[in-house]
Subunit: 459 residues, 2 copies
Amino acid sequence: MAKKFNRAMYFLDQKDMPTHWYNIQADLPEPLPPTLNPMTKQPATPEFMHALFPMECILQEVNTADRYIEIPDEVLEIYRTWRPTVLHRAYRLEKALDTPAKIFYKYEGTNQAGSHKPNTAVAQAYYNKQEGIKRIATETGAGQWGSALAFAGALFDIEIKVYMVRISYDQKPYRRIAMEVWGANCVPSPSPDTKTGRDMLAKWPDCPGSLGLAISEAVEDAVSREDTHYSLGSVVNHVLLHQTIIGEETRKQMEMADAYPDIIVGCIGGGSNFAGQFLPWVPDKLSGKKKDLRIICVEPESCPTVTKGLYAFDYGDAVGLGPIVKMYTLGHGFIPPPIHAGGLRYHGMAPIICHLHRLGLVEAQAVPQTKVFDAGMLFARTEGIISAPEPCHDLRVAIDEALKCREEGKSKTILIAHSGHGHFDLAAYEKYLSGELVDYAYPEEEVRKAQAELPQVSL
Amino acid sequence: MAKKFNRAMYFLDQKDMPTHWYNIQADLPEPLPPTLNPMTKQPATPEFMHALFPMECILQEVNTADRYIEIPDEVLEIYRTWRPTVLHRAYRLEKALDTPAKIFYKYEGTNQAGSHKPNTAVAQAYYNKQEGIKRIATETGAGQWGSALAFAGALFDIEIKVYMVRISYDQKPYRRIAMEVWGANCVPSPSPDTKTGRDMLAKWPDCPGSLGLAISEAVEDAVSREDTHYSLGSVVNHVLLHQTIIGEETRKQMEMADAYPDIIVGCIGGGSNFAGQFLPWVPDKLSGKKKDLRIICVEPESCPTVTKGLYAFDYGDAVGLGPIVKMYTLGHGFIPPPIHAGGLRYHGMAPIICHLHRLGLVEAQAVPQTKVFDAGMLFARTEGIISAPEPCHDLRVAIDEALKCREEGKSKTILIAHSGHGHFDLAAYEKYLSGELVDYAYPEEEVRKAQAELPQVSL
């Protein structure tokens, strides 16, 4: 009786929602290099890490035994307030491109905080709660991560202290207010609340702040109080693990759509959103089930960590207080140009992604900001969604690949890992519309200088 | 194998999505009073209305014969980019209230424009496109309606001109930029683009504008150009009709949840969102299937149209250019206090809702702004969603009813019609958090004056 139609959204019932995260470490052909203590430059002990993170996260960080790790019931219960998220088929974009390609996107923008970040924020808040932690300190740049942790803190009744880079704090009041609505305490960094902050303010009262400085403040806060931990929103293994719920759901939804991707594309800043999507597909590449699956990591041309970085041991934070990991890096002292995709302005990259790139399992492309927004505009005017600047990077490469399909007369299936909406990024769109958006050249000289300051490690 | 769990989200598969809107006019025990031409004060002819609206909408406006009106395939195709929307069970809110009540909410905030408005914007754009209309003019206050029509215009390649009340234009640049991203031309009203606007600017160059003035500009624009129509985002019958997709979906989803509402609650400004939810439930009240179903319309204490208005013929717009309808009204010249729920600052109310209230089928309550935001805050810290100020009105009454259930030890099922997110309303939350949010007394004297200016109608 119902008319024939093209299904544009694939819902997964909550009874079919994955109950486990996928742990790629159990499947790696070669193990990851160890994480190092920044003081000793030797492998970090769990005790060292435990000053910052709950033990469960530390165990997940180094777990090479279990392919699947059970998601705690309490976390699943909260996931079910917004998950499973929808897999969309982008018919209108396909039509506008006149391409034979089939384009799908898994969209993480419909949850309370508007991005993929709550997938790990909720898990981390839960594990901290289990250990009796009453307070978590963190940093945030553009505010997506701070928002997600503030939201998670509200759900578990954990006090959240967010050190927000001052220039963002001043420019993006809505992100700050959202954190306050969820009950978090958000201060501009540098702040008078830490020695690091006070020292900086004494030297430079109008200091605009930086992510590195904000990390330092949050770490200082966390190690100085018994009741407080520190929390990270990307890069490290356990964060990527928590994000794999995205890909696990998508695999089921692509099956519902009777489709399998030829190309999976996503942006990488610290790497957690895209890894959350693509990691569960890697076994099919390893087993030969889909050897030619292309996994394309997209980064900004002005901050091309994987395409132009060194593969080396470097600090995860900008000032050398945090753990040292082996990754592609532009040098921890490198300050990327002020592109609008704040989430992609990072000198390093998730060690898991770097390792997979070394093994030839993923590839990387760098794209310039104006072409990224061209893609975001086309997406907004076809699919309707105003995307954050970060996922506009995915859209750029997905569109390019779809256009190649048109040229070659080939129908490929493209899957986009869309991390969230751009409701708080409209100032960037305004710059685009008024013709003021610019591209930044790759600052090669500055990168060279920063890379000269890598820590000396002999393992 | 799957563990037992409480399902918190009910998805409806696209194959089960309703294919028809529900037309309450076919079921009304008494017909609606006619719409009048503002010049003649006699029933408006289709020809008069056709200068403003497409014929299909005009026919829907007066259709008393068909209970169900088929949704065009082209509209369904676009609905499927975000519909069916999710029905949520608010377990965390229930727990915080320690109530035996079951609370459900149908949430319209996940679509591209973030509110229920696209349900009619897309339909209206489609019908206009069918008539060869190339351009639509409209007004917007806070910007939700303008955003939705801009989005719909992008999908049908129709030029959209939005006259945005100047004070909102200046205060809410993000809404304006969103409209521009979708390709609309948004100007502050009063504007130099119409005679109405130019006259006002000559008299008062810094005029902050008003919704009434913006309507006048949009209507003048539409009637002065062959290729242009005018479009309304609420109040009139065909707009309410298009919104019934919400309730039609919810009926199926409540069945999936094995639940039936005792109370349905929603805010009313022009009335379209809430009517979209509750109208499809009215037949169960009429037939006696659920005679005691309570349908509670919530309005601001400072703009209490249904609870304190006169039931009379009045202009829909503020300056007396638009059609005259019979409704509860505070007087078309009444300017409501500056509460943050801009969508509820309207002197009149959808004639269908007023008619049902007269027939005793729906009830109304008025609530003060600070208590509305108390409810919005509790919702944000339990369910996580930051709601627009308008649906916070629903939340206030839903919470009050749930607390009554606790006192009385009764378990009732409460269904909330949640119209959208508050991502562009965070300035209002900031006022709340800083203790600056105030309540406004009902301006009785001003209402009396405005009501003295009702048009003289003898029918």
